[in-house]
Chain length 158, copies 4
């Protein structure tokens, strides 16, 4: 299409440690959920209200997966720039389901740590060397999976 833009910007905290999975072809994906919340005063009752929204995030960019592996964990506050993607899948009962995610691929995607203490400053110019980094490694799922998408969908309800 001549000129379209698909961009999501989130600042929020991770609900759990990220999950990293290797693909048979060598690629990998980091997935996690991010909470954002709003609060407002109800017009009628005058009560303070709050609503939390959970966003499912999938990181496919190689450099950003490394950042996630080393620095991002449950509770981390992150700035994320990605794109919206909806994919169709079939659950165990044969029901068709749709899942919408914020996806970080190479171009125009960013992940920046906002916690201060740990981690690098920006998620783009990722240095390619490794190195552990304290003890905050994410929950690594061991080994390649084949039924990747069904597996992911079992765990998170949307």
């Amino acid at each position: 299409m001549a000129g379209s833009v698909n961009k999501v910007i989130l600042v929020g905290n991770l609900g759990r440690d990220p999950e990293i999975r290797q693909f048979p072809n060598g690629g990998s994906v980091a997935s996690f959920t991010v909470a954002t919340s709003e609060s407002w005063k109800d017009r009628n009752s005058g009560e303070r209200k709050e609503k939390t929204e959970w966003h499912r995030v999938a990181v496919f960019s190689e450099g950003l997966v490394k950042i996630v592996e080393r620095y991002v964990k449950k509770g981390s506050k992150v700035y994320i720039e990605g794109q919206l993607e909806t994919r169709k899948w079939t659950d165990n009962q044969g029901q068709e389901k749709y899942t919408t995610e914020v996806v970080l691929r190479n171009f125009g995607s960013t992940l920046t740590m906002l916690d201060g203490r740990d981690g690098p400053s920006g998620g783009r110019g990722v240095s390619e060397d490794g190195g552990s980094y304290g003890d905050s490694s994410p929950r690594q799922v061991d080994g390649p999976r084949e039924d990747f998408s069904a597996d992911l969908n079992d765990e998170i309800p949307f």
Copy 2:
């Protein structure tokens, strides 16, 4: 949560005329879908590939609903700024489903026409006076509905 951001920016075209619904309490919602697409050259095959993503949009801001009613129709190119929201609902078979939408509420939400010919310049400072506007009115669903969310969910598969 101390400091979160939930923002979606889309530039794309409407797949169909918007649908406007009145709520019993006087509010209204305009809903439509927006297509964005990307194209790239496949690394292996060298082929040109294209992928279109469909985004479900729901406009609750009173001023923006008016803009949509008057100026936005099938094929319109729009700039949209809203927030991601996922809601749970139950289909006719009693299955729980989740639908993720780009929602435009009052603050920080924008809808701007990018087609040039028709429409006002920006979706924020909406003048409160009415007036028809050519012949490009959207498909108006007549009258208030009670089972609003189930109804919407019948029509669009995600």
Copy 3:
């Protein structure tokens, strides 16, 4: 213009305490500078490089000025959404100068604290009641000024 967008998003830290000024007509403005920085590895030398950019910010939205007064101070990390504006002025030697600022007015502007400890969650739905809030009040410039813009320009070099 049919469909234009002017938006700046910054995440960075304040270089100094904000400066608040009252206008004779009752309005006020909060101004401060925000640093963002990038680091990258130089392609030729392999050295780690870093560059800091300073952004001049002016907050005119009444609710956001209150937020700034109470919660924002030197070193605070903030998320800011505003618009770019360039204004012309004349310095003491009669030279014409141009200053570009990130301006926060009512619509679509946001300021969110990212420090965690202090402050409210979002800069939009600001409650209109007052209240001190610890000891972190910004450097308040006492009383209305008439030569507002020249005064500001004396202090910051761009």
Copy 4:
């Protein structure tokens, strides 16, 4: 700095054809100005008001310079994502000046045509092959320049 973001999003029209300059080292820059405008109804007088803002844009990303060369010209409507940079220079009278620009470098920068007729769909995955493209080539400044920044600053007043 741990975690900063510097992002500008513009949708607007070019005031003139872009200017392309080659650097001695082989790089190039495309520069142009983009207009955005707002209109609102004055609270007191009830009059319709309009204000146009001019943004100076400098494109350093190699792929995006090609896009600009081929497709972007006076009057074109574009979507731009870049970062804010302020640089210091000295004019002919030895006066120090500051110029703030929206700069498009490699990562996270985008330029997308919104005019419909001409041009490719997105400014990121630029194909590296050439090709003229009708007659809409921008005003090409011939040959490399050495005093690049002074030269640019002569022409545009901020």
